[in-house]
Amino acid sequence: MLKHLFRETPLVFLTLAIQLATGMAIATTVAALENQAAIQEVRLVGNFIFSILVVGVSVSLLHLGRPLSAWRALSNFPRSRLSLEIVLTSIFTVLSFFYGWALLWHPYGLAKLLGIASSLVGLATVFVSGLVYRVEGRPIWNSNWIMLSFAGSTACFCAMAMEACRIHYKVAAIVLTGGVVMLIASSALFWFRASDQVRRFSGPWLVAHLISIGIFPVLLLTPNAPFGPLLAIIFLPVGIVLGRYLMLAAAEVGPKF
């Protein structure tokens, strides 16, 4: 079981990289549109987007049995959802490169346009990557909870990036709360959809996931919580990663024909 699970680690990397990059693109674009003074932070976050996507795509190649033939994955565009996801990810990666460049050399001018484009393409990529998992051969995935989970992760990453870009605290808190609510809702939908076998397997994982994603907003909202922000930065991504592994494991454990 664990061998099957860790075989899917490249997909965990890819989906989380896309969602993290999209969250960062949205946060830095909002900062640019508001003509934020925290230009160094926005530049730093904005220039990480490209690197994150390159790492995510590179690691995802390890999921393939024949990585050197990966170029063939574009062959069935746009009919195949997987081909569509790859095309959108490629466009997002290219856009993010130019967005980072624009942030360095043309702060808040050309960067605004590229930021908006990157954010929209990023959101489209998150949406399509959610659709990739809506498949009949894996009944546990063939439901809206996956899309909710992907949207929730993106929102949480966006909120963290907003904090880094020093966007107004209340905006980040609202986005974060929305993200956590979506993650909790997706966990509930997953639980209702799961078979008894999947529930027996996933119970402890789900509890760990919910505790981890629940700690961040509590620490954020608790005044003077010791090591609050640091623990929050650790626990939320850990919770999201746990949730992603759980999603992939459930399909292996769950009933298949």
């Binding site: 790859i86 498949v135 009949e136 051969g137």
Partner: protein, 186 residues
């Protein structure tokens, strides 16, 4: 849409789960120790005293609307115009395993040592020579047959849906069954 659609006819009232079809398929396709293109499954159901059990030999159903053809990013799957057989080209396969997710029947099978997926191709080379697939010619009880889908579907006592079988509307599988009466009524 192909001009003609070949379909499997599986007579569960004859199948005794001897697995000769599985072995013949493995031998014909040299599919190795891991992959089982054809699998004989036992299905049970009903409530006492009306319980039933039957065996079904299932491989690729060469669906009329195959999800693998639609979703394979590398176009490794194609549906033949002449007879509707869904053929997989292992040379084009990149080993993404997406077809193993989208197929409701578990037909495509991944081999880690090869790094690619393969599936039942209905022994098309033999079919083109006028012969039969290995599973059909090897079954000692003639529980598996192939024929035109229209002819197979019109046989008396034939059903498209059996207990625990994925919803046929998903991909319109080219397979029909004859199952015990109790299983039809369940």
């Amino acid at each position: 849409m192909s001009q003609r659609q070949i379909a499997f006819f599986v007579d569960a009232t004859r199948c005794v789960n001897c697995k000769t079809c599985e072995v013949a398929c493995k031998d014909a396709n040299d599919s190795g120790p891991v992959r089982r293109f054809r699998r004989v499954r036992t299905f049970e159901g009903g409530e006492f005293p009306n319980v039933f059990a039957f065996n079904l030999s299932v491989a690729c159903n060469h669906c009329e609307d195959p999800a693998c053809v639609r979703q394979c990013p590398a176009r490794a799957y194609s549906k033949r115009e002449s007879d509707g057989v869904v053929v997989q080209d292992p040379e084009k396969c990149i080993g993404c395993r997406y077809c193993t997710w989208v197929c409701p029947y578990g037909a495509p099978q991944y081999d880690e040592s090869e790094g690619r997926v393969r599936k039942c191709n209905l022994c098309v080379e033999e079919l083109d020579r006028g012969g039969s697939p290995a599973c059909v010619s090897s079954c000692p009880l003639r529980a598996i047959e192939i024929g035109d889908l229209d002819e197979v579907a019109s046989r008396p006592g034939t059903v498209m849906q059996v207990v625990n079988f994925p919803d046929p509307s998903l991909s319109r599988p080219s397979i029909r069954f004859r199952v015990p009466k109790e299983a039809r009524d369940a």
